[in-house]
Symmetry: C2
Subunit: 423 residues, 2 copies
């Protein structure tokens, strides 16, 4: 595969300085003495090469797509163009929620390279959730990021012709969407080749795969994911795509970008928080040692949704400049109440979608190809299976009963009940 792509060459730590050392936007950060640069490959990406390149002046991240899925190898080719989509997603996210995504210093489409801001001393949120570390301001940044990028990328805000041009641009991200369509929405629901799960879950997996209501609802959610092009999504917004320091929260890696339903990003994020919640017993040094941290996670979930809905509502009232629910029809006619009624309906729809997408994400991360580190790192298989089973049970409830759950307190209470009861 690789040798068919003209001129493309994978970067190495040895070729880094030679290949990037004369690009001004990079030497502005690292200095022109590229012989002094040091490069290190992080090696933890599922799909790409990711290097940290440092000098005594500064540091950058160099991300390069490989022509295949790194996690699997040459046998699963994947287009280099995903770097192009990530680049276009990043510049739009930066416009829509300034300061939350990495600044881009350089983009090379042919080489599938993005050189961007290195967030330090930030770490991946998922690792914090295993370590039991709390972060102030996390929910606020995540909720606002969702509200701002999702609102401002939609027909609620954008010029219609520009949004349509963006739909055309991103709908070509076929290969990465296919991964989501298959691994999230289909594979978990039958005995697909790439699936794997903790053996102690066998009986529960049989039950879930025989659960007709679950399967039908998961497909309804897939249908929304595939066809409901409401806004530009991050597309892979789990806790591994969030970086945190003591005071800052940043969002990275939007290469799965697509136009899709507003609830998808928030749902995937919340699903990952709920899984982290259930995984805590696997990381506690003693029974109950993570009780407080578990409560903190549920508090974050509560706050993410509250921040999202409050910021989304603010944007609805202040920035509704698109072709949907035009102010000329509502506020300009003295019908502010009608605008609020429409907002409430839309938030209710987004809420239900959010729960559903959270549910399929929890099921997928336990039964399909890519699991989460919080569970994978629990060496005791019985204990891991307990944690995973709880996630599956909440996931199932969210997917099937999402239209009958009316507040986050209800869902968090359900999570607490499942955490206590299931064993």
């Amino acid at each position: 595969m690789a040798d068919k792509i003209s001129n493309y060459e994978a970067l190495t730590v040895d070729t880094m300085a030679g290949r990037l050392g004369s690009i001004e936007s990079i030497t502005d950060i690292l200095g022109t003495n590229s012989s002094k640069w040091t490069s290190e490959e992080m090696g933890d990406g599922n799909l790409n090469l990711v290097f940290i390149v440092k000098s005594d002046q500064g540091s950058v991240i160099v991300k390069q797509a490989l022509p295949y899925v790194r996690l699997v190898g040459d046998s699963w080719p994947l287009p280099l163009k995903r770097a192009f989509f990530e680049y276009h997603a990043l510049i739009r996210q930066a416009e829509r929620d300034p300061g939350t995504v990495p600044e881009i210093y350089h983009f090379d489409g042919a080489q599938a390279i993005i050189v961007m801001q290195f967030f330090t001393p930030h770490i991946i949120l998922r690792h914090s959730l295993m370590a039991g570390t709390k972060h102030d301001g996390l929910a606020k940044t995540l909720g606002q990021f969702c509200a701002r990028t999702l609102f401002r990328g939609s027909d609620l805000s954008m010029d219609a012709a520009k949004r349509k041009a963006d739909v055309a641009l991103f709908v070509d991200n076929v290969a990465l969407c296919d991964i989501t369509e298959t691994l999230v929405f289909s594979d978990p629901y039958f005995d697909a080749e790439r699936n794997h799960h903790t053996p102690q879950l066998d009986q529960l997996v049989v039950e879930l795969r025989a659960d007709i209501d679950l399967k039908v609802e998961a497909q309804h959610l897939k249908s929304k994911f595939c066809n409901n092009a409401e806004t530009m999504l991050h597309g892979d917004f789990h806790t591994g795509s969030v970086m945190v320091s003591e005071s800052e929260t940043k969002v990275i890696d939007p290469e799965f970008v697509l136009y899709g339903p507003i609830g998808f990003d928030i749902g995937m994020l919340l699903g990952n928080f709920w899984m982290a919640y259930f995984a805590q017993p696997g990381h506690a040094i003693a029974e109950g040692a993570r009780d407080d941290y578990q409560n903190w996670i549920l508090g974050v979930v509560d706050d993410v949704w509250a921040e999202f809905s409050s910021e989304f509502s603010r944007l609805w009232r202040e920035e509704r400049t698109g072709i949907l629910y035009e102010k000329s029809l509502f506020e300009d006619q003295g019908h502010t109440l009608a605008s609020e009624q429409a907002l409430a309906h839309r938030l209710q729809d987004i809420w239900q979608d959010t729960l559903g997408f959270a549910g399929v994400e929890m099921i997928r991360r336990t039964l399909s190809l890519a699991h989460i580190a919080e569970n994978d790192s629990i060496e005791n298989e019985e204990l891991r299976a307990d944690c995973e089973a709880r996630g599956l049970k909440l996931g199932r409830q969210l997917v099937v009963n999402r239209s009958r759950m009316n507040a986050m307190a209800t869902v968090n209470d359900l999570a607490r009940t499942i955490a206590k009861e299931a064993k």
Copy 2:
């Protein structure tokens, strides 16, 4: 506007033979002796030039886009590219429901010309509905056309990458979508510049524009129209886009093509039938003279939906080869019942969308720019306003209460009640 488009030249009856006389796919129909061809401009299009070109061997339709809206003039420019979209829609419709749309003999994108099959002795269905003429097989062809084109253009059937390429292709049809977005979904709900209505409706129009539930629901439907890219729609599927003879039903003019919600085409069609139903008293030679014909129209409505749902269900069971509701998840697991459950849910969603889109179409054709000939041709303004008011009342009920109407018999009964009561 026109003079900015290099090489484009509008056809005339005098230049027809010179410009098209040496194109083999056309001379195959008309013969090579183009000096004997006769051309006639039909002059009834809102947007385009349409010629019938005949020889002693045969006849063709020559349709050419103008760089502006013909109905309005130069002041409303409109891209020539709509001919490109119509061409691409026609070839897909011909594949998906062979024999229902005109065969294409020649396409010239730069000149925005499509040369295609002339259906004769067919007339526009709308004219039949004014004349009170019945047509056998009408509902069957229309219901099947909807089911086949809408199912086969969706992720229920198509290869996902091909569908996404088609989404990208058609999402560029911005100008024509903008007409629908504005004239159908927004203008009727406030005092927009291009609106006009029969003066006797003034009071009812005030009530409708103060109706908050109606306005909010119309915007929810607009949101679906703009964002829910389920399938390739005809996009302008009213009774003026249908041609009928004694035994045949044909569908023309898909230049408003877009990827949108499955219920849109059927809804627009049914809305036009219901308006034709209410317009009958304006065309009756004596009171009650059109009672039987009115019943026939409601029967057609009933049959269109029945044919659509039966054919859609057949295709669901036999041709579900896309990425949604995959057979590998359902039938292949022995879960045929789950597949039927999913089908029932989807038909219920399409049903509700259909009623909603029918409702906004009825309101739009009475209050916005382009009205229907069935009403416009009623010279007595009082009588015309009565017919139109009935359509507005049913339209309002459909838009606001569509989720609580469970069968076509209910809706047709409501139409009958409104026809009797309103005066």
